[in-house]
Symmetry: C2
C-alpha cells in the first residue's frame, strides 16, 4: 500500500525533496543544486535525479508513493500544471511540469506555487489544523500568500489568484518601488530585505543610528539581516524595535484589507520574518483591528506558522495529499 | 406552480420591492417609504406592507412566489440572515430578518447585502451572464463589492467578505479620510461624492477652475454632482475630464490589487458612476494592466453592469433564485 507523499520544492539555487507520511512525518529528505544557470534541461534533470536518489536512499519503491507534489516559483498555472517563465529558472518557458513528471514516474503529480502549498501544509499539519478557510502569508525574501476556501486552494481563472504580496497600500509612494513595477506593494514595504533596507536608511540618519546592530555583525552595517535586527530588538535596541513595529503596522494595514475582502477563519504567517515572534505579532494584531470594518475581525486568529524547517517539502507533499 | 421571485431592497429612505420571473422580467414593482426614523417596528411593518401591496397589485398569490430575497444595508450576516446595526436603520440591532419574513410569509427567504445581490443579478440576467467567477463593483454614494466563486456568493467566516470598498491604496494619506476610520480606502478616493469633492477643490484652485460645470447648474458649484461632471466631460471640459480620469486611475490601481488576489473571470462595474462610460472605463482598463502581476489580466473583461434601474429589486430577487 502506498505510504508516502513525495514533495519537491524547486528553487532558483536548490531542489529540496522529501518523503512525507499522511500524518506529516518527514521520513527522508535530500537537497540537490538546481544548476539553473545551465538551462532547463539540466535543472529538470536535477529534479529527476532528486526523485531517484530520494527513493533509493529512503528505501522505498515507486509503489510506496501515493502522489507527487512539486512547488516551483511562479508564474505558474496549478490547474494546467504549467510553469510559465520564472525569473530564476533560466530557459523555463511554458514547461508542462506536471505532465513531464507524471509521464516519467507514472505517479499522479500536482504543481503549485510555494505560498499556496505552504498554506495547505499548515492546514494539514500546522497551525491551521482544523480550519478550512485560511489566509496564509509567508514573509521572507518576498511576500507570498495562499487562499484556502472550504479546504481547497483558491486559484482563480488563470491559476494566478493569491498574489497578495503585490497589493499596494501606498500607490503613489515613489520611495517604495516594487520589483513588479508598482509602488507601495506590501512586499516592497515589509519583506525581509526591504525592512533591512529601511533599517539601514535610518541608521545612517543620525541620532536614531545609535543602534546595537552595527556591533553585532562582523562587517558592520553591510552584514545586517532581519535576524540581526530581531536579535537587537530582543536586546532592547530602540531602532530595531521601531523597525519591527513599523513592519508590523504595514502588515496589519494590509491584513485589515485582506480581512475586509476575504473574512478568513484564520490568518497564518510563516516565512523567516514570522520567527521574530510577539513584538511583530502584537503590532500586526493591534493594527488589524484599526484597519478593518469587519466587526468580527478582532476574533480572527492571527498566528505564526508551525512548519518552519522544510516547509517547502511539506508544502509540496501536502498538495499531493489534497 | 410558483412563478416569481419576490425581491425587496430596504434602504434608509425607501423600500423597493418587485416580482421578478426566472428569466429576469420585472412583472411589478412598488416603492414605500422606510420611515426609518420611527424605529424598527415601523420600518419592519413597512416591509410587510410592501409585500402585501405587491402581491395584491401584482395580482399574484403567495403560492405563485418561489422565494423571497431581501437586501439590506450592512453589517449583516447572510448565512444567519441577521441584520446587525446599519447606521441608517434606526433601532435595528441584531434583527433576524430572514426568520421574521419566513415565519410571516411561510416562503423561503434569503438575506443579503446590496452589492453581493447586485452581483448575482448581473450573473443571472446581466453583463456577467455565462460567467461563474465574478468580481462585482458598485460605485455610487459608496463603493461596494461582491465576490462570486463557482456561481455562488463568497461570504467568508462571518458573512462579512467582499467589503472591497474599504481596501486602502493610500494608507497614510491624511487628506483622504474614510468614514470607516481608515485612510485612503478606495471608497474615500473614488466614490461619487468623494470625486465631486475633489473636483470642487480643484475648481477653487485657480486656473484649472475655469470649468464649464459652474455654468451648468442652477446654484453653481453647490449643485454639482457626478452627473454634472460627466456631462461637462462630454462637452470637453478639461477639469471634468481630468477628474474622471483620476477616478479611473484610482479604480484601476485598486482593481489591479483585486485581480492579484482573486484572478476573477470578469469584473462588472455598476452603480451611478459606471454610467459615465468609456472615458472612465478606458482609464480603468489602462491602469489595471500597469498594476497587476497577473500575466493574463489584460484579457480579463472589465465591463459596465447591465442592470441599472431597479438593480436593488433585481438583486434581491436574484439571491432568492440561486
Amino acid at each position: 500500500m502506498a505510504k508516502y507523499f513525495l514533495g519537491i520544492d524547486i528553487g532558483g539555487t536548490k531542489i529540496a525533496s522529501g518523503l512525507v507520511s499522511a500524518e506529516g512525518k518527514l521520513k527522508k529528505s535530500i537537497i540537490l543544486p538546481t544548476l539553473a544557470e545551465r538551462g532547463k534541461n539540466v535543472s529538470l534533470n536535477q529534479l529527476f535525479i532528486s526523485i531517484d536518489m530520494l527513493l533509493k536512499t529512503g528505501g522505498v519503491s515507486k509503489k510506496d508513493i501515493k502522489g507527487i507534489g512539486v512547488c516551483a516559483p511562479g508564474p505558474l498555472n496549478p490547474q494546467k500544471r504549467i510553469i510559465y517563465n520564472p525569473p530564476n529558472l533560466q530557459g523555463w518557458v511554458k514547461v508542462p511540469l506536471g505532465d513531464l513528471v507524471e509521464e516519467r514516474l507514472k505517479i499522479k503529480t500536482k504543481v503549485e506555487n510555494d505560498a499556496n502549498a505552504a498554506g495547505v501544509a499548515e492546514m494539514l499539519w500546522g497551525s491551521a489544523k482544523g480550519y478550512k478557510n485560511i489566509f496564509y502569508v509567508t514573509v521572507s525574501t518576498g511576500i507570498g500568500t495562499g487562499i484556502i476556501i472550504d479546504g481547497k486552494l483558491y486559484h482563480g481563472k488563470n491559476g494566478m489568484a493569491g498574489e497578495g504580496g503585490h497589493v499596494t497600500i501606498s500607490y503613489n509612494d515613489e520611495t517604495v518601488l516594487c520589483a513588479c513595477g508598482s509602488k507601495g506593494c506590501i512586499e516592497a514595504l515589509a519583506s525581509g530585505p526591504n525592512t533591512v533596507k529601511r533599517f539601514l536608511k535610518n541608521i545612517s540618519r543620525g541620532p536614531e543610528g545609535e543602534s546595537l546592530t552595527v556591533n553585532m555583525t562582523k562587517n558592520g552595517a553591510a552584514d545586517i539581516t532581519m535576524k540581526t535586527i530581531a536579535d537587537a530588538a530582543k536586546r532592547g535596541d530602540s531602532l530595531a524595535i521601531k523597525t519591527i513595529q513599523e513592519e508590523g503596522r504595514f502588515l496589519g494595514i494590509w491584513l485589515g484589507n485582506m480581512i475586509n475582502i476575504l473574512d478568513p477563519e484564520i490568518i497564518v504567517i510563516g516565512g523567516g520574518v514570522s520567527l521574530i515572534g510577539n513584538l511583530l505579532f502584537k503590532e500586526i494584531k493591534d493594527t488589524v483591528k484599526k484597519h478593518t470594518i469587519n466587526i468580527f475581525a478582532s476574533k480572527t486568529p492571527i498566528v505564526a506558522a508551525k512548519l518552519k524547517k522544510n516547509v517547502g517539502v511539506f508544502g509540496a507533499a501536502a498538495i499531493a495529499m489534497i
